[in-house]
Symmetry: C2
Subunit: 202 residues, 2 copies
DNA sequence: GTCTATACTGTGATAGAC
DNA sequence: GTCTATCACAGTATAGAC
């Protein structure tokens, strides 16, 4: 019979509670807004009082920090599937990559605000929480260069373009699909400028 | 001798006080942050107590509202000079227009956050405050179409691109000039895709 | 008519009892 | 570990001083 040391049992339970709190925080953020989230709301949802959360997180910003890391880690976890099924044609592949990130971030305002904007007053992600987003961007950069031969400068323009279209979506068209059309058009413009050959669809 | 009716005198003084409060609010926003601005800070700077501000603005968000309108009106006021001195070559002109907006908004974080992002919790600009920004965008749209013959869709991509680069500037490079280079590159890409002829510089 | 004093509510955070 | 009690500070409503 397996003997679990007492310390591990405690650690496992603590980690589970942390996850439960984070899940509640996401629900609150999605229902009443990321900025409007309060510790009392989160505590209610896990059946605690607000001060008890401080036994698991050092501050409200520490909760945001963990959510930030979680969001980018979740996205990172989707990349292998994406890259495994990438079309061979570079232009089509760039469309797919853009749409993949767009879909992940345009469907969830709270997640988008946390990942891509600085909407929370005194909050900036810690170095550890920032790490997954850095990995994602570096990996995207390598993939795009390998795929298209674009220069670093042009990859940064591509990132700004995709980000700008997602912002526009949330500002003007939240819920609509109009900006998906603009996204394809924007990627095509970029592909033209970088010199990618046309593909079959269109 | 000019006789000023009493009602006008009062109205003039009230308008002056409003402007004084707004100016103080901008100073606070620039020094300690747009979101971190408090009514007590603003009141201190104009020599009042916080509740007294309610004699001039209905709420804190009403102050943000007036600041929003002011920022876009100020930008609108710079357009005639810009368009009067626009280079005849379409590609160069698009570079100048982009740089003009970029410079206005990239040099002042508080103003950028208020004009282009939704960083304030419960605040959305009123219809009246929104009007100048709508006028600016519509005028830019007409100017760009007249200049380049671009389709509406492509103009929207251009707007998203410029906005995305400004966001990147504030997120990664605040104070630096690296994104000015990317801006020119981005505009060039767009110009290529829209079919503008090359210009002399470059 | 303009500002102040006071107070109410809700927030994040801390201290100490159990 | 979680609770209760409490704090400091925010926006804001109201009543009254001058």
């Amino acid at each position: 019979m397996l003997v679990i040391p007492n310390g591990d049992r405690v650690a496992v339970r603590r980690a589970a509670t942390r996850l439960e709190i984070l899940e509640a925080a996401w629900e609150v953020a999605r229902s009443k807004g990321l900025v409007e989230l309060t510790l009392r709301d989160v505590a209610d949802r896990v059946g605690m009082r607000a001060p008890s959360l401080y036994g698991h997180f050092a501050s409200k910003n520490a909760i945001y920090d963990a959510m930030f890391e979680q969001a980018w880690s979740d996205y990172e976890a989707t990349i292998p599937d994406l890259e495994g099924a990438l079309p061979s044609h570079p232009r089509t592949a760039m469309r797919v990559i853009a749409a993949h990130f767009y879909d992940f971030t345009a469907t969830d305002l709270a997640r988008h605000q946390l990942m891509n904007q600085s909407v929370i007053a005194g909050f900036a992600p810690s170095a550890e929480a920032y790490a997954p987003s850095v990995r994602v961007l570096e990996r995207a950069h390598r993939t795009i260069v390998a795929l298209t031969g674009a220069r670093t400068e042009d990859v940064e323009v591509w990132v700004a373009l995709v980000g700008g279209l997602i912002n526009q979506h949330h500002a003007n068209d939240a819920g609509g699909s109009r900006h998906r059309v603009l996204l394809d058009r924007g990627v095509d413009m970029w592909a033209d400028a970088v010199g990618l050959p046309p593909d079959d669809q269109q």
